[in-house]
Amino acid sequence: MTDARWSGSAPVRRWSWTDPALRSAVIQITLAIALIWMAWSFFANAQENLARQGIASGFGFMENSAGFGITQTLIPYSESMSYGRVFLVGLLNTLLVAFLGIILATIIGFLMGVARLSNNVVIRALASAYVEVTRNLPPLFQILFWYLAVLSTMPNPRQSWAFGIKPFLDSLASGASAIGLTPLGAWLKGMADAAAAPGVFVSNRGLVVPRPIFEPDANIIFGILVASVIVAFFVARWARKRREATGQQFPTFWAGLAIIVLPALAAGLVLGAPVTIENPELRGFNFVGGIRVIPEFVSLLVALSIYTAGFIAEIVRAGILAVSKGQTEAAHSLGLRSGPTLRLIIIPQAMRVIVPPLTSQYLNLTKNSTLGVAVGYPDLVAVFAGTTLNQTGQAIEIIALTMAVYLTISIVTSTLMGWYNKRVALVER
């Protein structure tokens, strides 16, 4: 302890209210005790009153069987499963729509934001109109619009619009043969003939597409695919490093595509294409087989993406405008064209301004996904904070758990975005 030699001359500490450190410690401890006491008495009081009113409490209900059906389940589910399972099903449905919504909204938002600054008057006007309309209509209204005014006007399953994948596969096959990949062409031709019946249906029950059924050998192909993605990633990194060091260009995109696609394709041909296609089929009231995307999901996803994209467009526009005009001029005078200028010079700098407000749009989209109850989308709020709450009556437990989930999703989103923000932040050199 080298400090020992100072102790002699250290001023004697006195317990005094004028000592700010001591004062704040006392206040903080008192506050913490008061809060804990309040929370505890709140809990005990509620517990006691619930018991007196004969209302069940505790989390035991999570194991009881739910008894109701759910339209869209990403994991196997049946009525005889528990409320705990319902919670998971609802959570996954919420995450699905939030995740895809965030991706779609970001893509549309960036396109629209850039379009608003376009030199082309028509594009600029269209983008402005998009932003004005989507931002100013309430999201619930937009969801109902897509559900009731658009998707429900689709024909019924018997008269659904059918699209074959045969023409598509046929053209792929002739394309492959034309560039000399004869075995691939032949294989695609075979697939096309197998899929002679139409496989894609659009009706007021949603979109049905063929389901690929993988045989065990397909796992080898998946393994190769994963490995190729990793290789492609390292190649891209190497290419970037080399470019930064030497300025030499490398066709990263095409090379990456080749690295990812070709080995898997070759393996597929060697293994004799271990995949069959299950075509959906109209039987009775509805389609059997295939993969079905329900209109409740589509209307919620489309409405949320379009609505949030309106806000993101404005954020992107503001971000781009925040980058000084001198940057563009400098890039142009170096001979860079508009596309690369935007992509390589402007957007990376604009990201610093864009990311923080973008985060809050992502959070908004996630929270707005609870509006799906209006169209019967089985998200967490609908099946858990709704039906489960109603059946069990355990409002306190269920609302607390639901709040915790949304809080966690928000914190995780903000943390990820915070991490990303640090990466794009201006590095002062």
Partner: protein
């Protein structure tokens, strides 16, 4: 957002139960407030539905008016709160309404774990299915693979699961939060069938674009005894709500109705005298004036009148008395004796 908000507010209300002395005398609160808070549906013709002037009408509504008549001698002293199937129990538990009169099925779990008491069965019902006539269906069992619209938070949502599973039928259940959304989805063709208690199907059918294109299948897949519920732990209030209902049944059984009530009040029959309060102190025993039944029948009518006016064969719903006839006329409605 407002829906979520409402649910959170209701949940906050639940917490508030923690603070307030729960189980207090509801009748005193109602009298002090000068009005009864009655939870009803968000619009179900025949049961609880606002008319074109915004007045609530229907069987479930009239029951609340009967309570108000007994307490205040004024059937208008009721504040109606429309509740979705999902929110109704929380609203009752938290004290937002004094009585829940919203085509609610009396089930054991609701009675025991939700802290409720059911005061009676104002309408014996069962679950049915409505489909398009063009489908040419004769029975529910032909609905294999169908999409079915239902309101979430109802017994109906559960019964479908039970029935279809038990009969090895496949189905897709789409649950909506409100009855409007449910009906719209069915009407737009999203679902092949709409399921609910049969009486409600007749009511909801009236809301469809082309009423004549739809029919109710004959099958009944469950028992749905619908009745008013109150909070557990307030026996006086429970008694009052129970006996208002029995009084209306007894009035019908004894031939007392809103037209002859004044003559009947002078009757010599001991049963009628007890019911109408000229003999005994039955009203006082539930905390209201002794002429409580006179007030109820005068303002609202007896059970049969209430039934006929709102859902009976002369109403737009046109439902026959059936099970809801008095016990001595082939039904199961049975008022406990006043004595």
């Amino acid at each position: 957002m407002s829906r979520t908000l409402k649910r959170i507010l209701l949940a906050a209300g639940m917490f508030a139960i923690g603070a307030s002395a729960a189980g207090a005398a509801t009748l005193d609160d109602v009298k002090a407030r000068g009005a009864l808070n009655c939870g009803v549906s968000q619009g179900l013709p025949g049961f609880s539905n606002p008319d074109d002037k915004g007045n609530w009408t229907g069987l479930d509504v009239d029951y609340c008016r009967a309570i108000a008549a007994a307490i205040f001698n004024d059937p208008t002293k009721v504040k109606f709160t429309p509740l979705s199937a999902k929110d109704r129990f929380t609203a009752l538990q938290s004290g937002a309404v004094d009585v829940l009169s919203r085509n609610t099925t009396w089930t054991m779990s609701r009675d025991t774990t939700l802290g409720l008491n059911f005061s009676g069965v104002t309408y014996y019902d069962g679950q049915g299915f409505m489909v398009r006539k063009s489908l040419n269906l004769k029975s529910v069992n032909e609905l294999n693979g169908a999409s079915i619209c239902v309101q979430s938070g109802t017994t109906n949502e559960l019964n479908v699961g039970d029935y279809f599973r038990a009969n090895n039928l496949k189905y897709e259940l789409i649950a909506f939060a409100t009855s409007d959304e449910t009906v719209k989805a069915y009407d737009s063709g999203r679902c092949d069938a709409l399921t609910s208690d049969q009486s409600q199907l007749y009511a909801l059918r009236l809301k469809l674009t082309n009423v004549a294109d739809h029919m109710v299948l004959p099958n009944v897949i469950s028992k749905e005894p619908l009745g008013p519920a109150v909070r557990q732990g307030d026996d006086q209030w429970f008694d009052l709500t129970k006996w208002v209902y029995f009084a209306m049944l007894n009035a019908e059984e004894l031939g007392i109705n809103s037209k002859n009530i004044d003559q009947m009040a002078a009757s010599n029959s001991p049963e009628i005298k007890r019911l109408l309060g000229s003999d005994g102190k039955f009203g006082e025993s539930i905390g209201v004036s002794n002429d409580w039944v006179v007030r109820i029948v005068k303002h609202v009518g007896n059970y049969g009148e209430m039934f006929e006016k709102n859902v009976g064969t002369s109403s737009p719903l046109g439902i026959a008395r059936g099970l809801n006839n008095l016990w001595n006329k082939g039904g199961v409605q049975y008022g406990m004796p006043v004595r």
